[in-house]
């Protein structure tokens, strides 16, 4: 229970700072600033990773339900789907394959990873 409260506390602080960042800098949504700040907190060891892991994983496992109300908006779009259904599918399909191709091809060609170009020792010393 302590760890649950601890996790909620850390996440709330991060979100609060995210709101501040959003207010000052605009650009990104507050929750995304919060996410980056949260990762930074863990990186800097300001909060314990062991304590947050379990509750955090529970949050992530169940976050899908929070997305249902947004998805339900489709109920207002039957007309759009009737009219442009094919165009929607074509756009989604083609751009997904463009992305797969671009990233797959470039990574295969240019991504220099420690295991196939450098030895692990040189990579570690970086």
């Amino acid at each position: 229970m302590n760890n649950v409260l601890y996790t909620i506390f850390v996440i709330s602080i991060s979100l609060l700072l995210g709101k501040l960042a959003n207010y000052l800098l605009a650009a990104l949504p507050a929750s995304l600033y919060g996410m980056i700040i949260y990762a930074l907190f863990l990186q800097l060891n300001w909060f314990s990773i062991e304590k947050v892991t379990k509750t955090n994983q529970w949050f992530i496992k169940h976050m899908g339900v929070c997305l249902v109300p947004a998805g339900m908006g489709i109920i207002n779009h039957f007309e759009l789907i009737q009219q442009h259904g094919l165009a929607l599918v074509v756009i989604i399909f083609s751009t997904t394959f463009i992305l797969l191709t671009v990233i797959g091809y470039l990574s295969e060609r240019f991504l220099i990873t420690p295991d196939n170009h450098q030895t692990n020792t040189t990579a570690d010393s970086k």
């Binding site: 996410m35 442009h84 751009t95 463009i98 797959g104 990574s107 220099i112």
Partner: protein
């Protein structure tokens, strides 16, 4: 009957409708756990049950979203919770983050531009174009970004779902077909194009596939969040 219930006792109605949503979702998630079919996506399943339910009970979308506001509010802290996988993946990519970031930035930029222009050309509705150009990220981030840019987030949610299913079902075969066979390249491509759904399928191939896929999932979400608030308004200006 239900509509009068909603206007007469709003708080109770809110609890009931939220509980129905959660129960349906949990049932769907349990079904997927049991049978492991990719297309048995809990969100898709829940929506395809709740849409007929709303139509039958004559609850309109505005009422539904008012009553389930608590779920929408919880989306913010849930998104912050993704900071933990972000932190874990950052440790993994520290050796080659430059190359990886460059590749993902290029891919994301191309796809945002192509999706936006195709949508403006074929559908001619800016809010749909915004929604479609933000479909190559994980759903919570896609929805948040779309709402910030005044796009239509329900279209984003569906586009992300469809992109996820396409990539998960056909992605690995397509990549092998064009000669992309290494675990790192397949993982990065599927993770950025098909996010969670793709990663869930790819992780069955090998742990290395799964690791790269989740790196791409998180990294491309952050990069899209950084690129789109600048790129999309620019594209919008181009069309007016």
């Amino acid at each position: 009957m239900l509509t009068t219930f909603i206007t007469n006792s709003p708080i109770l109605a809110s609890i009931v409708i939220t509980l129905i949503t959660i129960a349906t979702y949990q049932f769907a998630a349990a079904c997927q756990q049991k049978w492991q079919y990719i297309w048995l996506n809990p969100m898709l399943f829940t929506i395809s049950i709740l849409v007929p339910f709303l139509l039958l009970t004559e609850i309109n979308y505005q009422q539904y979203s008012d009553k389930t506001q608590i779920l929408n509010l919880l989306l913010e802290p849930a998104l912050v919770a993704l900071g933990l996988p972000l932190y874990q993946q950052l440790k993994q990519i520290r050796f080659y983050w430059r190359e990886m970031t460059a590749i993902l930035v290029l891919g994301i930029t191309v796809v945002i531009i192509v999706s936006f222009m195709l949508a403006m050309w074929l559908i001619k509705a800016p809010e749909i174009a915004i929604a479609l150009s933000l479909k190559s990220v994980t759903t919570p981030i896609g929805i948040t970004l779309t709402e910030q840019l005044f796009g239509d987030s329900s279209i984003t949610a569906f586009a992300i779902l469809i992109a996820g299913l396409f990539g998960a079902l056909l992605g690995p075969q397509w990549l092998s077909f064009i000669g992309v066979n290494s675990a790192k390249a397949q993982g990065l491509a599927i993770g950025s194009a098909s996010h969670v759904i793709g990663t869930a399928v790819l992780v069955r191939k090998s742990a290395e596939h799964g690791a790269y896929s989740s790196v791409a999932l998180i990294l491309s979400a952050v990069l899209t969040a950084l690129i789109s608030p600048w790129l999309i308004p620019l594209l919008q200006k181009l069309f007016y």
